[in-house]
Amino acid sequence: MIKIENLTKHYHAAQGKVEAINGLNLEVADGEIFGMIGPSGAGKSTLIRMLNLLEEPTSGTININGTDLTELSSQNLRAARQKIGMIFQHFNLLSSRTVLGNVAFPLEIAGVGKKKRRQKAKELIELVGLEDRADHYPAQLSGGQKQRVGIARALANDPDLLLSDEATSSLDPESTKSVLELLGRIRDEMNLTIILITHEMGVIKDICDRVAVLEAGEIIEEGSIIDIFSKPQKALTKKFISSVIDFDLPERIVKYVRKERPGELIRVSFVGEKTHDPYISDLVKHYSVDANILYGNIDEIQGVPFGTLVLDLEGQLTNIEESIAYLKSQDLRVEVLDNV
């Protein structure tokens, strides 16, 4: 388990004191894929680089499986780092070594014998599907292939934790998808904990179990993917979600509805089983309101159906209120849109 307490990073720059991370607390369970998202400058890169002490914290503790990294001697820190794999946006492979040499590199550092190194590296290269590229140099590979080498290399010393620093940010959508699939698969096969940072909500939606939203060095919102997607609290979170799931109505339609049809505009979100049940017809039958569907969308977040409807409810005010209460009692998330 990873437990971060009161983590702070301040440094001095030309513009004065920069507070990159401010007293951050975080817990990540074993085997979890935990995502951190934030706009650039939010401190996510600083944060992930502190998790293996590439960046030294100003204060706070970083506890990984019972060991506080910040208290280790440099020698013990090097040993601990061998159990924390890391992958990078720009891959950072050694240009002077082949794929095989790159994957064997961490084993060489750990002092593993030559024969064992070769064997282990070959297994990992097979795991990431690059058998036919083992003797190629990084310059001869595509971005997606380079990141696969990066992943194989990060797994060489059987780490407990994998850190991913914007690993898909310089890849095309196709490679991003396959790299994310690979990460999900190795998590399942090796029961690895993965902490990743990204500025793309699609990455979070595709593979994370939980997510933290970072703004100005602080976690402003944190929760399971379904919770965050169905009940985002903060404006920044909503903005990130809207980049992958669009549930804003075109302004013209809102204006038209507002002017012509005085009623109540609501947004209902359904998660999982709820998407199967006929709530809207219940509403119309039992509460004598009219429901005009202005917008509907159904998506899937890691196999869980997730839907959104924007309804224009018409009828007597008390009926509308009752029908909203009914929807809420069914554990649906209902939001009254005052000023869309």
Binding site: N52, L54, L77, R78, A79, A80, R81, Q82, I84, M86, F88, H90, N92, L93, L94, S95, S96, R97, F105, P106, E108, I109, A110, Y137, P138, A139, R153, N157, L163
Partner: protein, 224 residues
């Protein structure tokens, strides 16, 4: 014209021994440039702010040594270190004596070349090695040197070519080699053929050094 041809034939042995002396001086001082300059360059880079072993005072000293060494014109350096040369070689005349100032000029030159070659390596690559738990020594020998090898070889080529020209200067003050021949026969005795021949040999030498340097560097270069 007759003179021209007979001169060339007559001094054949002289030209061969002169060329060998030049090659000897270049090879010896190149050797000292490698064993002295490359470690100097590595230490200078890694003690820089933000590199793997930052050390401000040491970096200041090493960087200073390189700058001072590089700013003294070779002809002055050669004369200035004569007492030191005598102390080491026992004399200030001859090819062995010339190797001393040549090495002293080549070491800081190679130091700067190595420093620049290592600085070219993407800091992310160094960081990835650190993230795997590599020690500073492992980073030097498994990352910095192999990754900068093509650039270091090109730097060595550059150093060797500078040494060819410096060695000619050393020849003028009793160092021997092609420079000595060009001055004594070509300039002082007006033997134009000898002068031209030394120039041709030097040009060919430099071309060959550059050619092989490029070949070896590209053999180790897998960046593209």
């Amino acid at each position: 014209m007759f003179n021209f041809i007979t001169d060339l034939a007559r001094y054949n042995d002289l030209m061969i021994s002169g060329s060998l002396e030049t090659l000897y001086m270049v090879a010896m001082s190149l050797f000292f440039a490698i064993v002295g300059g490359i470690p100097l360059g590595i230490l200078t880079t890694i003690t820089r702010q933000g590199h793997i072993l930052p050390n401000k005072p040491l970096n200041f000293i090493l960087d200073g040594i390189i700058n001072i060494g590089r700013s003294i014109p070779f002809i002055i350096l050669m004369v200035a270190v004569i007492p030191f040369t005598r102390m080491i070689v026992g004399t200030s005349i001859g090819t062995n004596a010339a190797v001393v100032p040549l090495s002293l000029a080549a070491i800081p030159f190679m130091g700067r070349v190595t420093d620049n070659a290592i600085l070219e390596i993407d800091q992310g690559v160094v960081e990835s090695a650190q993230s795997m738990g590599a020690s500073p020594l492992q980073i030097v020998f498994k990352v910095l040197l192999p990754e900068s090898l093509p650039a270091i070889i090109l730097g060595l080529t550059l150093t060797a070519i500078s040494l060819v020209s410096y060695s000619a200067m050393a020849g003028a003050v009793g160092g021997g080699g092609l420079g000595d021949i060009a001055i004594r026969y070509g300039y002082q005795r007006f033997q134009l053929a000898i002068m031209l021949e030394t120039i041709v040999i030097l040009v060919v030498m430099v071309q060959l050094i550059q050619f092989f340097g490029n070949q070896i560097a590209s053999f180790f270069d897998h960046r593209a």
